[in-house]
C-alpha cells in the first residue's frame, strides 16, 4: 500500500528568529492537511499564545477551547488566538508541541480545524489543550500562517512541518 501521508514543506527557525511561519501555495490535491510543530517564542512568559491565519487572515474565526494546567481545567471561547506553546520563561531548551488538523481543506465548505497542543515546563505553569476552530469561509485553503499574539518571535530550532493526507 502506498504511503499517503506526504510532507509538503517544513521550516526550522534559524539563529535570527522568525516573527511568523507561513506555508503558502499549498497544493490542492490532498484530502486533509496536518501541521505539526515544536515551538518556543521570545515572549517573557512561560507560555505563548499563537494566532492561526488561513489565506492571510483570521477574519471571523471562533473557537471552543479547553485546557488543563495541572490543577484545574478551563473552558473558553475566543476569536482567532489561543493556541498555546512555550514562551521564553519556560524551562530552558524546552519547546511546546502541537498538531493542527484541517480536513477537506480544498473543498467548498466552511473550514473546521482541530488543534491539540502542550506547553512543556518543569514548573507549575504548563498546559495541555484541545481547540475546535472554524473559519466561516468557503474558499479553499492555499496558505496557513502561525504567529505570536504578543508580537514576539519564534526562537531558533522551532520546527513546523506541513503534511498532506491523501
Amino acid at each position: 500500500m502506498p504511503l499517503q501521508l506526504y510532507k509538503i514543506a517544513s521550516v526550522e527557525v534559524g539563529s535570527g528568529g522568525q516573527s511568523s511561519v507561513t506555508f503558502s501555495s499549498i497544493p490542492q490535491g490532498y484530502t486533509d492537511l496536518k501541521l505539526v510543530f515544536s515551538a518556543r517564542s521570545t515572549r517573557a512568559n512561560a507560555v505563548e499564545d499563537l494566532l492561526i491565519s488561513l489565506n492571510g487572515n483570521n477574519t471571523g474565526m471562533t473557537n471552543r477551547n479547553i485546557y488543563g494546567d495541572g490543577s484545574s481545567a478551563t473552558a473558553t471561547t475566543q476569536g482567532g488566538a489561543n493556541i498555546l506553546t512555550n514562551g521564553n520563561s519556560s524551562t530552558a531548551n524546552t519547546f511546546g508541541n502541537g498538531e493542527i488538523y484541517i480536513p477537506n481543506y480544498a473543498g467548498s465548505t466552511n473550514k473546521s480545524i482541530s488543534i491539540d497542543t502542550v506547553s512543556e515546563n518543569n514548573a507549575t505553569t504548563a498546559y495541555a489543550q484541545m481547540v475546535a476552530f472554524i473559519k466561516p469561509n468557503t474558499d479553499a485553503i492555499t496558505s496557513v500562517t502561525l504567529s505570536s499574539n504578543s508580537s514576539s518571535s519564534f526562537m531558533q530550532y522551532s520546527t513546523f512541518t506541513l503534511y498532506g493526507i491523501l
Binding site: Q4, T31, N63, R64, T74, G107, S114, M130
Partner: protein, 168 residues
C-alpha cells in the same frame, strides 16, 4: 528486508443526500483504523455514536471530556447499546464539525475493542472520548452517526477511512 509503514486510504465518501449513519465493512489487512469525519447536521440532536459488527446489545461503555466554551464537562456511560463517541450539535447548517476516530487493533480476536475519538465543532464543543466494546470478536464492520437518534449527516459531509499497518 525492511518494511514501510503505511497510512492508506481505504474508502472515502461525500454524501449526496443526508443520512443518519454511515457504515464500513471492508477493511482487512491493517492493524488500526482511523476514520476522519468532516460533517454538518441540519437536524437537532447531539449524540454521535459507534456500533461494531451490528451488535445492539448493551455491551458498550465510554468516558468523555469536553468543553462548550463555558463549562468543562466530564462524563461517562456504561452498558449502552452503542458507544457514544462525541456530541455534535445539529441545527447548524454551515457549521462544520470534525471527528477523528481511532479504532485500535481491530482484527484481534482476544481482547475487547477500544475506540479513541477527538471531536471539534467550533460553535458548540471540543472534546475527546474513549470507549470500549465488550467483545473479543474481531471487528468486521462498524457504523457511525445518529444510532437510535434523529440527527443526520447532512449532504456534503465527507467521511474517510484510513488503515494503518504496523511493521515489526
Amino acid at each position: 528486508m525492511s518494511k514501510t509503514a503505511t497510512y492508506a486510504k481505504i474508502a472515502s465518501t461525500t454524501l449526496s443526500t443526508s443520512q443518519l449513519t454511515v457504515s464500513f465493512n471492508s477493511f482487512s489487512g491493517y492493524t488500526d483504523l482511523i476514520c476522519v469525519v468532516n460533517m454538518t447536521r441540519t437536524q437537532s440532536g447531539n449524540n454521535f455514536s459507534l456500533r461494531f459488527n451490528g451488535d445492539t446489545g448493551t455491551n458498550y461503555s465510554q468516558v468523555y471530556f469536553e468543553a462548550d466554551g463555558t463549562s468543562v464537562i466530564p462524563g461517562r456511560n456504561s452498558n449502552t447499546n452503542a458507544m457514544r463517541i462525541a456530541a455534535i450539535a445539529g441545527g447548524f447548517g454551515t457549521d462544520q464539525a470534525m471527528l477523528t476516530i481511532n479504532i485500535l487493533d481491530y482484527a484481534n480476536a482476544t481482547t475487547y475493542k477500544s475506540a479513541l475519538t477527538r471531536y471539534s465543532q467550533a460553535s458548540t464543543i471540543v472534546g475527546t472520548s474513549a470507549g470500549s466494546w465488550r467483545s473479543s470478536s474481531a471487528v468486521t464492520s462498524f457504523e457511525i452517526g445518529a444510532i437510535g437518534a434523529t440527527a443526520n449527516f447532512a449532504a456534503g459531509s465527507v467521511i474517510t477511512l484510513y488503515g494503518i499497518q504496523a511493521v515489526n
